[in-house]
């Protein structure tokens, strides 16, 4: 641009002064316009980035917030001795019995083929039957008595109550029929079905039934895995950083370690998964899809970032601290462990928490070590099969039932809340303890 300025100046030298003035003014105008354009590109780029974040969060909240509300049915169930054989309580058809009782209460007549009760059963949940069986197993004396049971309503019925299945769709294209809609409205007006905050999402573990599927197992699995990761990555990472920053002689070996760490930080996460599969599972025979193996793999992955963060906060501690400690007779180790490390601690914790938050959201390496199987219960120990939050999201996203989609978004919200809490903790820690020398 400066070249064109000069050439245009050269061209305008010959004519009258007025022309030169206008030409310069024109030129300036063009240059200022270019300046404004350039600035606008910058604003535009930032707006695009902010817009993307906005759309991303809006869509997820939009799809997920409904999952935090659910509907459950509360009904009196008569444990009919005519239908339950006391010697074989497992053999009875509880679902059918409960459905017929609810139908009788609602005044819905059964037809001779039993199709009505079949359709009615679809809007209730098999969980009612399980609960009745469980109650009877715990206390066989309940046979012939009435008990009150509460359980989440079937996922499609729940979607209908929340207005996500509209009557406007052609009957064949939706999962609930017109007749079922009438029944459901009736159940609601009679007060059997109530909407409430979805506690099942946090107290249940994974299930093939969307209405029963919850995140407790995944949250526990994530917690266990993160514990393993923290227990390995923090001491090893801080130790390695201390060695490289405070003790290591500057030679070829330490240079190699440094290059190595920088490269490890940029290795794709899926490669760590392949490492975990080949070394920990196939070679060492550690249990597949366990939080232990997942934690070890994530620890290896988080290690470079922990080391890099620790080194930079160690570097921020001024040398005068070390020299003062050495000056009054402390050994090198004492100076580092008693003075430098405590002063660097806030920075170390901040970097560590951020890298642990990153590990919490990591999915790809966990798929490699087999963490994709359906785990219906709570993990008993770090060596038993478990699911973790991001993998749970992946599994639910693949499920075909529509009710799982809102649960996927809800699981994402839960994961994001955990990550935001961790990041906030890191930021607060930095604000509270940050010290400028």
């Amino acid at each position: 641009m400066t070249d064109t300025v000069q050439s245009s100046l050269a061209e305008t030298r010959a004519p009258a002064k007025v022309d030169l003035k206008t030409a310069v003014a024109k030129r300036l105008k063009a240059r200022h316009a270019a300046e404004m354009r350039f600035r606008a590109y910058g604003v535009l780029a930032i707006c695009v980035a902010v817009l993307f974040l906005g759309i991303l969060l809006e869509r997820i909240v939009h799809q997920g917030y409904t999952a935090f509300v659910t509907h459950s049915i509360t009904t009196e169930v008569y444990l009919d001795p005519n239908r339950i054989d006391p010697t074989d309580i497992m053999g009875a058809n509880y679902d059918q019995m409960i459905t017929e009782q609810v139908m009788a209460k609602m005044g819905v007549a059964e037809d001779e083929y039993g199709t009505t009760s079949g359709e009615y059963k679809e809007i209730l949940s098999p969980d009612l039957g399980f609960k009745a069986l469980e109650a009877l197993r715990d206390d066989p004396k309940l046979l012939g008595k009435k008990i009150s049971l509460t359980s989440p309503i079937a996922a499609n019925a729940d979607l209908y109550y929340k207005g996500e299945i509209s009557r406007d769709i052609v009957e064949a294209d939706r999962n609930v029929s017109d007749q079922q809609m009438v029944w459901m409205d009736d159940l609601k007006t009679k007060g059997l079905v109530k909407g409430h905050f979805n506690t099942y999402l946090f107290t249940n573990t994974d299930s093939t039934q969307p209405e029963l599927a919850g995140l407790l197992g995944a949250i526990m699995g994530s917690a266990m895995m993160l514990l393993v990761t923290a227990a390995l990555a923090i001491p090893i990472g801080v130790g390695a950083a201390l060695f490289l920053e405070e003790f290591a002689p500057k030679n070829r070996w330490t240079a190699l370690i440094e290059v190595n760490i920088n490269n490890l930080a940029a290795v794709p996460s899926i490669v760590y998964g392949l490492l975990g599969l080949a070394v920990f599972i196939n070679w060492l025979g550690m249990p597949r899809s366990s939080p232990l193996v997942g934690g070890v793999v994530l620890a290896l992955m988080a290690l470079p970032t922990v080391i890099i963060a620790t080194r930079s906060s160690l570097r921020a501690v001024p040398p005068s601290i070390r020299e003062a400690a050495l000056g009054i007779g402390a050994s090198k180790t004492q100076a580092v462990f008693h003075h430098v490390l405590p002063l660097a601690m806030p920075g170390i914790m901040t970097g560590t928490i951020i890298s642990l938050a990153h590990a919490l959201g990591e999915t790809a390496p966990l798929l490699m070590i087999g963490m994709i199987s359906f785990v219906p219960g709570l993990p008993e120990s770090v060596t038993s099969a478990a699911s973790v939050l991001p993998v749970q999201i992946f599994i639910w996203e693949n499920a075909s039932e529509r009710a799982f989609h809102e649960r996927t978004a809800a699981a994402i919200i839960v994961l994001l809340v955990f990550m935001i809490v961790m990041n906030l903790a890191a930021i607060l820690l930095r604000r509270r303890f940050e010290r400028r020398w």
Binding site: T2, R31, A34, E35, F38, R39, G42, V43, A45, I46, A49, F52, L53, L56, R59, I60, I236, V238, G239, A240, L242, F243, F247, A248, I257, V259, N260, N263, L264, P268, S269, I270, V271, L274, L275, A278, N282, W283, L284, P287, L303, I307, T333, I354, H358, G361, E362, T363, A364, L367, I372, A385, F394, E397, T408, I412, L415, L416, M419, N423
Partner: protein
């Protein structure tokens, strides 16, 4: 059980620390001399000796216990099992392990002689397991007690506890930094080893330059059809296409926001926009995958279908009407969004490290802000920025979840962004998350792909780091 033992060991070591420290104090007081080391060092000395040897035994048990058990159980193969094909033999022992250790076995049913052999092996596995564990536990306890006692007897005011403890500390620190090297070695060796096994059945040339990818191999010899093709060129092209689209989004947006943030933005704006970008950087990739698969994919498809409806009858219109959710464009755009904060924060650092004197000189000559940036700052920062872009490319190539959830599985050789393509990482995930024997070429192919991925990203990172380093030296 091992966990509880480890906790007990920690408690014992803490107790040893207390005992050692108080003994050192008492001895020094009794002799009326100043000890060589502070009493705490004596405590540490005893604690270290009661902890480390015992912990090493426990660690070896955790790491190699299962392996040793398998080796012993598989050392003699029953006659009935020997008649099975090799693949089923592996399955047999897998099931034995699953039953003995409380896992989920396969659905295979063993009867007759096999059933007897199976029960025998399960019993053997259980007894071997308990023997190994018991032995390790006893050894741990003995070592903890013996180490602690031996160290305890050595404590005296003359004993140089500090030097000894500090030697242990430096050994620990060196060991920590060696973990980083071991990780790299582990990655390289495991990828190389499995890839070599893969290349025994598929030639590396066919793998790198073949254009036919269909890893479904016939499970039985009499099956027809899928003969298996391991030409990875379609995957490389798909990966390249998605990376290219991602960089088309991330490079301009990231670079311009970095320029604006570092050159124009007021401190107040910076304080607000930086956290937004940090949030974008902190969003897990599985969330971006969900966003791509359920939000961006359907809306892009609807848009193109709508566009196609404007040109009825033309082949272009027909094509647009039939595009799928899983087009390369969707995965590429979402990956680009993911990379924006990465590109932006790296470029921001690099632009900020251009010396202020260069800007001042240019502004003093009458150049506008944008002219200064375009003619002075960016050329000076160019090597660093290209390094940052290379790092972003390497991230895009290695990214897994977005493409797994939003890109297709069909290996096509195309550069059309509206077509479905598949990538290296998608194939690794698909090959390894199915239920199959580990030794088939299908699963080993994943390691071949992994090795390629590792080499390419490593090369990109090394080049990028070299460029950034060289550039930084110029101004320091």
């Amino acid at each position: 059980m091992t966990g509880y033992l480890f906790l007990a060991l920690i408690v014992f070591s803490v107790a040893s620390f207390m005992f050692g420290r108080s003994l050192a104090r008492r001895k020094a007081a009794a002799q009326g001399v100043r000890a060589h080391s502070l009493p705490a060092f004596s405590g540490w000395f005893v604690a270290i000796w009661s902890f480390i040897p015992a912990a090493v035994v426990l660690l070896v048990l955790v790491i190699f216990g299962a392996r040793l058990e398998n080796a012993i159980v598989q050392s003699d193969v029953p006659a009935a099992v020997q008649q099975l094909p090799e693949l089923n033999q592996g399955l047999f022992f897998q099931d034995v392990r699953a039953i003995a250790n409380g896992g989920t076995p396969s659905t295979t049913v063993y009867d007759g002689e096999l059933k007897a052999a199976f029960d025998h092996k399960v019993a053997q596995a259980r007894s071997v397991d308990s023997t190994i564990n018991l032995g390790a536990y006893v050894l741990t306890a003995v070592l903890a007690l013996a180490g602690g006692l031996l160290a305890y007897t050595r404590i005296s005011p003359q004993f140089r506890a500090r030097n000894s403890v500090e030697r242990w500390v430096s050994v620990f620190l060196v060991a920590c930094s060696v973990v980083a090297i071991l990780t790299t070695l582990g990655i390289i060796l495991s990828l190389l080893w499995e890839s070599l096994r893969f290349f025994q059945s598929v030639s590396p040339l066919d793998f790198l330059f073949g254009t036919h990818w269909s890893p479904q191999i016939a499970m039985r010899a009499d099956q027809v059809g899928s003969s298996g093709g391991f030409g990875a060129v379609p995957l490389f092209i798909g990966t390249f296409l998605i990376m290219l689209i991602a960089m088309c989004v991330a490079a301009p947006v990231g670079l311009f926001s970095a320029i604006y943030l570092s050159e124009y933005a007021t401190p107040f704006m910076r304080a607000w926009i930086k956290p937004v970008l940090e949030i974008l950087a902190g969003v897990p990739t599985v969330v971006y995958g969900f966003f791509a698969a359920l939000v961006v994919g359907p809306s892009f498809r609807e848009f193109f279908n709508w566009l196609g409806a404007f040109m009825p009858g033309t082949p272009m219109g027909e094509y647009l009407m039939n595009v799928q959710n899983q087009m390369a464009l969707v995965a590429g755009v979402v990956m680009g969004i993911m990379l924006i904060p990465f590109v932006s924060s790296l470029s921001d650092d690099i632009i900020n490290s251009v010396p202020q004197s260069l800007r001042d000189g240019s502004l003093a000559m009458g150049a506008t802000r944008s002219e200064t940036i375009k003619k002075v700052v960016l050329p000076a920062a160019l090597p660093g920025i290209s390094g940052a872009m290379l790092l972003a490319v390497s991230r895009a190539i290695g990214e897994t979840m977005i493409v797994t959830m939003a890109a297709g599985l069909q290996a096509k050789t195309t550069l059309n962004p509206l077509d479905t393509v598949t990538t290296v990482t998608v194939q690794i995930v698909t090959l390894l998350t199915g239920d199959q024997e580990f030794d088939s070429p299908k699963t080993l192919a994943a390691f071949g792909l992994g090795l390629t991925l590792f080499i390419v990203t490593l090369a990109l990172n090394l080049i990028a780091q070299r460029i950034v380093q060289k550039y930084q030296e110029q101004y320091d």
